[in-house]
Symmetry: C2
Subunit: 333 residues, 2 copies
């Protein structure tokens, strides 16, 4: 099977200086790939040289506009195909590509994906999931920001889609699912989360385990953590902030005395291994769950390793036919 | 000025084996303190020996019931003064004590405080604040779980009370205040938070700086972070969970090879200093803000150092007359 991926070359902080080297890395190991590439001719051209030798594996489509954070959403939508992001998304809707990857503005990418690719019946806005490192491996949390306010029915949809995604991506069978809350007793939290708890508990396809508190996210006892996009976004970013604080404290500690400096040199390679296990670049690339096609959001700050990972997520999800699996589960739900 | 503190000796996971040694430690350095102590005679008695030599500094009141998590709130309230927690809270309402400290169940302590001590006009439920370590020092976040759903007016009250508390506790003048949100653009988040932003911005007493995202909490650029109790509780516990994960990864890294083991020994004392700066015990003890008296919640898992810190918070807040300061600011608001 030949897989075709559309890439918004301009998305993300570094544009083609990151997106094209990442494509080259992926092409080196797989010959069954084809890329539809969208971007501004004059900016992209110098980087296309890197793709020499892969001329049968890509086509470049010049576009006029680059979507930037801060642009008005209605303008982005009105200009549609003129932007690298819009044209890339549209190629999935038109069946020219099997998936689209962009590191551009999340709101714009989500809006264009909804308009062109469309969501399954009953899904008002797709959910954004993320894998998080835990003491025992990875867990999946969703929604991470697409839906600031959620009904109990939406939380049930997130649970069903999360189950499909973690099975497709990590092959977790019958994942343990919990709702993020401020306590584990049934009466904790607000009305919506209590109603969602009933829906998840009664659903025959879900292995629902009750509420989980923030301090247990990283314990690894739960596979899929379901939450509204507001709380999920705050939790995800808070984990990132905590890691930055601890990194700061550690680097101060390791340079405090001559002993700690020598000690650091001795620990360095072990510490690097530990750091790699929580390095976000290796978890980069999240599908918009609930779309009829595959759109993968790469983090805006991603470097080549991060964007390469997002491309691999796209390929993986095409191979596993993510949208059909989701549709099947939502129909049962 | 003699300061009288009521202590629920039975509160917290370790009861009088922690609460009494902490009282002894505080009494060693200050002679102007008096403690009203409440607890079960047979459990407390052996520990009272530790207070020998301080017989002029405490009175013990035996009580029948110990409030435990899982007990029905209406039962706790109905039994009121029969419990060590209820009697200790009541002594503040009756002006027998200047403040009460308990490590018992938060919901019960909050309910009893509301009933006996009462809140200021317009405060439906007191807010729970916490100090968090940042790259630049401490910041204050509230609410941490007392109010799962908040109106814009409540978020304004939290901002005003947070301003008073961080000034009273850390002497921060004109603290920088922000609302926790999922983005910094004005249109981000839900309706309540956008309305709250307008209230905070327009209030002449507040140095409002806009929205803050979860990853910036630990950066230390903002002094008071205002949020609803649901999001705040998740964020606080997520920070705790992240710290546990990183501790786990570090201890694996430090024991991985003979080099990293030796390296760890060389870094140990510097690492311990770094760890101390995020050790929650030194931040233990949070007032219920908005009460007409002083009630300090100690973490249930606290050891002697933690409970001692909660007692110090109580003493500090009595000296600074926290409730009058809060009342004054709420009236202006």
């Amino acid at each position: 099977m030949k897989i075709t991926i559309a890439v918004d070359l301009m998305g993300g902080d570094y544009g083609p200086s990151v997106t094209i080297p990442a494509i080259v890395k992926v092409l080196r190991s797989r010959k069954d790939l084809f890329f539809n590439l969208y971007g501004a001719q004059e900016i992209v051209s110098p980087y296309l040289n890197d793709l020499k030798g892969y001329s049968n594996h890509y086509q470049f489509f010049p576009t006029e506009i680059v979507v930037k954070t801060g642009m008005v959403l209605t303008d982005i939508v009105r200009n549609g195909l003129k932007s690298s992001m819009g044209a890339a998304v549209r190629s999935v809707a038109d069946k020219q590509s099997d998936a689209v990857v962009s590191g551009g503005d999340t709101g714009a990418f989500m809006a264009l994906s909804k308009i062109y690719i469309k969501t399954f019946q009953g899904i008002s806005r797709p959910a954004i999931p993320a894998f998080l490192p835990t003491v025992k491996g990875l867990c999946l949390m969703l929604d991470l920001g697409a839906n600031a306010q959620c009904t109990p029915e939406m939380l049930l949809q997130f649970a069903l889609m999360g189950k499909v995604y973690i099975h497709a991506y990590l092959n977790v069978q019958n994942p343990k699912i919990a709702l993020l809350n401020i306590g584990t007793e049934v009466e904790k939290g607000h009305k919506d989360i209590q109603e969602a708890a009933v829906l998840l508990k009664e659903h025959p396809e879900l292995n629902y385990r009750g509420f989980i508190e923030g301090n247990y996210i990283t314990q690894g006892d739960i596979d899929v953590i379901v939450t509204d996009g507001f709380t999920g976004n705050v939790a995800l970013k808070t984990i990132q902030g905590s890691a930055i604080l601890i990194k700061h404290l550690l680097s101060k500690a390791f340079t405090r005395t001559i002993f700690s400096k020598i000690g650091y040199l001795l620990c360095k390679s072990s510490l690097f291994k530990a750091y790699k296990s929580i390095d976000q670049r290796y978890y980069n690339g999240a599908p918009f769950l609930g779309l009829k096609g595959i759109a993968i959001k790469s983090h805006g700050h991603s470097d080549v390793i991060g964007f390469e990972n997002a491309l691999k997520v796209a390929i993986n999800m095409v191979e596993r036919k993510l949208p059909s699996l989701i549709e099947m589960h939502l129909k049962k739900g």
